[in-house]
Symmetry: C2
Subunit: 137 residues, 2 copies
DNA sequence: ACACCTAGGTGCAATATGCATATAGCTAGC
DNA sequence: GCTAGCTATATGCATATTGCACCTAGGTGT
């Protein structure tokens, strides 16, 4: 059953709200640019981040107003688009964090309780548990 | 700036791994069917779940082997496809939970620390902070 | 017959995503 | 000067996901 290879890949390529949250998280307290963010996130071990998706996500976050950017030409090499959080971005992160905690609570409520479900639930037990046992019809 | 109306909607329509995790979470300890899950999730206040997406997600979770299903014709009304977690599904949830905790740690590391970033970071401070202050070229 | 509720499912346009590729600044070697 | 290679951003395109509207079908009440 499900070894490490065919086990469904969870969060291999962070996308959507997850990706946004990670990008914003990396911008907390300082600014950074796309290329740097891709590298730091890939090194962080949360998954393999796609360059194209990251660049597009950053532009979209800027359009949404969660970050803003300026060109940085002070260093050698190609110009860097430096992003920093806006107030809206900070609020977004706070919202996201609250949601994440709710999610964790929902998901962890049984697993944390010493997982009494190892044998998989019986369907008969379900009906009793929720008091719908009107199998008589 | 950014009132409750134009604030970017975070997690309004849970999708992807998030949706999968929520569905699996609702199946912990008992079985349930799609229609019921949509209702319970929508009442839970985590967002507005899309019927079509939920049904498709459930079928896909079954294909992946995280849940399995049987038809339940014991109750009145249309038959219900009852889902229950598989062992792989339980493992998935445990993995997801671990990832979620890492995410939370990443995202919350600065916000939790009394948010000293209310004024938004200065870009000059960044360079000093990361010791790249070679503005002289 | 008809309206209405439950329950699952599908078609399709719009959006999001992964991968490959393009553009461009700069450095090192010859 | 020319080429190769690294940094840095961006886009084209085929595929995958998603939201919404709609469909099928069983059952109940009038």
């Amino acid at each position: 059953m499900a070894n490490d290879n065919d086990r469904p890949a969870v969060g291999v390529h962070p996308t959507g709200d997850m990706l946004n949250a990670h990008l914003l998280a990396m911008l907390q307290g300082w600014s950074a640019y796309g290329y740097e963010l891709v590298q730091r996130l890939n090194e962080a071990g949360f998954g393999e981040y796609n360059k194209g998706s990251v660049y597009r996500a950053l532009r979209q976050l800027e359009q949404t107003g969660l970050v803003d950017s300026i060109w940085d030409t002070s260093t050698a090499g190609p110009a860097r688009r430096m992003y920093q959080l806006t107030q809206a971005g900070i609020l977004f992160l706070e919202n996201w964090l609250a949601l994440l905690d709710m999610h964790r609570a929902l998901i962890g409520q049984f697993i944390d309780a010493a997982a009494p479900l190892q044998g998989a639930p019986t369907r008969a037990a379900d009906r009793e548990r929720r008091g719908r046992g009107d199998g008589s019809r």
